[in-house]
């Protein structure tokens, strides 16, 4: 059951993950001065990871990918009416949803981590750029990567929640977005920020499981 569910979720998220990864790579290779596409320029922008727009751009791609994956896995089942088919499989509902969440979150995390690692390894390689580099310079990117993961769970919740109007469901996403932004500017981020994000993620996952158990399909 587990393998079948994982395979299904991977197949369903593959397209979106590929688009997300390409977007990351387009952006990161541009920073590295290696144009992914002939017309994409890619002259490099100075000090790796520290260039001001890098984290913002990375955050935007991460948010788009996280929200896309969350909605793809939940709202698409609602739109196609396949929740009824899936939830009637002889398995605990929380387990089915849990596998979905685990696969979606992992796909997002891997897609986001690969370009950071690629860029980091490139930056750590001597002779690639004329500026100093320490791995601690990547912290801003990891922070954006980790915080956007919460938006994946929020988007999943938006897709699985029952509401009269889709717009009202988006309040959940808007609230999560606001919280993530607030958490990002917390002092001692790796202590308070990470703990706050984990708490937010835990709350969102519990909400998803609660909604899956109690809503009418």
């Amino acid at each position: 059951m587990l393998t079948a569910m994982v395979r299904k979720e991977l197949r369903e998220t593959l397209g979106l993950a590929a688009i997300g990864l390409l977007a990351y790579l387009y952006f990161v290779t541009g920073q590295m001065g290696i144009p992914l596409l002939p017309w994409s320029g890619g002259r490099g922008y100075g000090i790796p990871f520290v260039y001001e727009a890098f984290v913002s751009m990375f955050w935007i791609v991460s948010v788009a990918l996280a929200i896309g994956l969350g909605l793809r896995q939940s709202a698409a089942e609602s739109l196609r009416g396949t929740w009824l088919f899936l939830l009637h499989r002889p398995a605990h509902r929380s387990r089915l949803i849990g596998v979905k969440l685990a696969v979606g979150a992992l796909v997002y995390l891997i897609c986001g981590a690969l370009p950071i690692l690629l860029y980091g390894v490139w930056a750590a390689t001597p002779g690639t750029h004329a500026s100093p580099f320490w791995w601690s310079m990547t912290l801003g990117a990891w922070q954006a990567w980790l915080s956007a993961a919460s938006l994946y769970f929020a988007a999943f919740l938006v897709g699985i929640r029952g509401a009269r109007w889709f717009g009202s469901r988006l309040f959940t996403l808007a609230a999560a977005m606001l919280l993530v932004i607030v958490i990002q500017i917390e002092p001692w981020w790796w202590l308070l920020g990470t703990a706050s994000l984990l708490l937010l993620d835990a709350w969102l996952i519990l909400s998803i499981l609660y909604v899956a158990r109690t809503r009418d399909f």
């Binding site: 059951m1 499989r89 002889p90």
Partner: protein, 316 residues
């Protein structure tokens, strides 16, 4: 035979209106139960409540003696469910759909799936999204029977299928029914389908179960009575089992469930010139039961027509 499906005063409200109202049902093992009703009569909601997909506002439902809202996976494995419209993963091929479903079941009859697919001429390589409605229904049926379920719940399985495919689908379903002791509950608004397959029927009208009886009994108990008068028809007395009444000029057209000598006596007391009693086929009986009070066609306007609400809607 033990009851496989039991509901007690099962009720669900949508927008403060009851979609299903106090549904109490007992379906014994081995029964083929046809749940009839017009669109929005509450059939799908009732079925979803049976399977724990919709939570009742009050009342309870049990399948195999287990609360529907908390069915264990082992119990769910004994139940096949075909949802309305046959939702399947459209990006999968038929073969992938079979492999995906098989992974959830301890017992899975691969040769039966192959037989059913072969019978319908379906290729395992065919993409679900390229299949017609009828073919998707056939794939759903193959998936449903492969796990050798003891209970099949089918929500309007022939909806959107053409006559030939419908007949073929039903015949296949009958073959499956004939396998040992299976219980089937299926909803439909196509009377011919129900008449051919079900040995017991329930009729839902506006969420209320108005009829719950053997199919033959329902057909035999509903009568259409036409009273012709020399004058304007008088007011009707209270008639038990009166489902509908319709006045056309000096004629009074009544539909009565369980027509008896007592009914005849009461109607003769009205002094009609003639009384015609006719049997109704299942379709006519169903229509009379479910259509509610008839309204005159105002734009015709020539004949004086009148409407009276049903005095009573009894359970046959």
């Amino acid at each position: 035979m033990p009851d496989v499906i039991v509901t007690h005063r099962l009720t669900k409200f949508y927008d403060r209106r009851p979609a299903v109202d106090s549904l109490s049902l007992h379906v014994p093992q081995g029964t083929v139960y046809g749940l009839l009703g017009r669109n929005a009569a509450g059939k799908s909601t009732a079925i979803k409540m049976l399977l724990g997909m919709v939570h009742p506002d009050c009342g309870r439902a049990e399948l195999f003696g287990e609360d529907s809202a908390r069915l264990r996976p082992e119990t769910r494995a004994r139940i096949a469910y075909l949802a309305e419209g046959h939702p399947l993963y459209r990006w999968m091929t038929v073969g992938e759909m079979v492999r995906f479903s098989r992974a959830f079941y301890a017992t899975w009859n691969d040769s039966l799936v192959a037989q059913v697919l072969d019978h319908f001429g379906l290729s395992r390589r065919a993409k679900i999204r390229r299949l017609s409605n009828g073919q998707r229904a056939q794939v759903s049926l193959a998936l449903a029977v492969a796990a050798d379920p003891e209970l099949l719940i089918l929500d309007d399985p022939t909806l959107g299928l053409d006559t030939v495919v419908r007949r073929d689908f039903l015949e296949s379903m009958i073959e499956i029914i004939q396998r040992r002791g299976r219980t089937i509950l299926f909803s439909s608004h196509i009377l011919g389908d129900v008449e051919r397959v079900a040995d017991r029927i329930g009729v839902l009208v506006d969420g209320v179960l108005r009829v719950d009886c053997p199919t033959e009994h329902f057909k035999e108990s509903v009568r259409r009575i036409v009273l012709e008068f020399d004058r304007d028809p008088p007011a009707l007395p209270a008639l038990p089992g009166l489902v509908g009444s319709w006045r056309v000029g000096r004629k009074l057209d009544l539909t009565i469930v369980g027509y008896s000598a007592e009914h005849a006596r009461l109607l003769e007391a009205l002094g009609p010139r003639s009384i015609d009693v006719a049997e109704l086929n299942l379709e006519d009986a169903f229509i009379e039961y479910t259509r509610g009070p008839r309204r005159p066609l105002a734009f015709l306007g020539e004949e004086e027509t009148g409407t009276e609400s049903p005095a009573a809607q009894g359970v046959a």
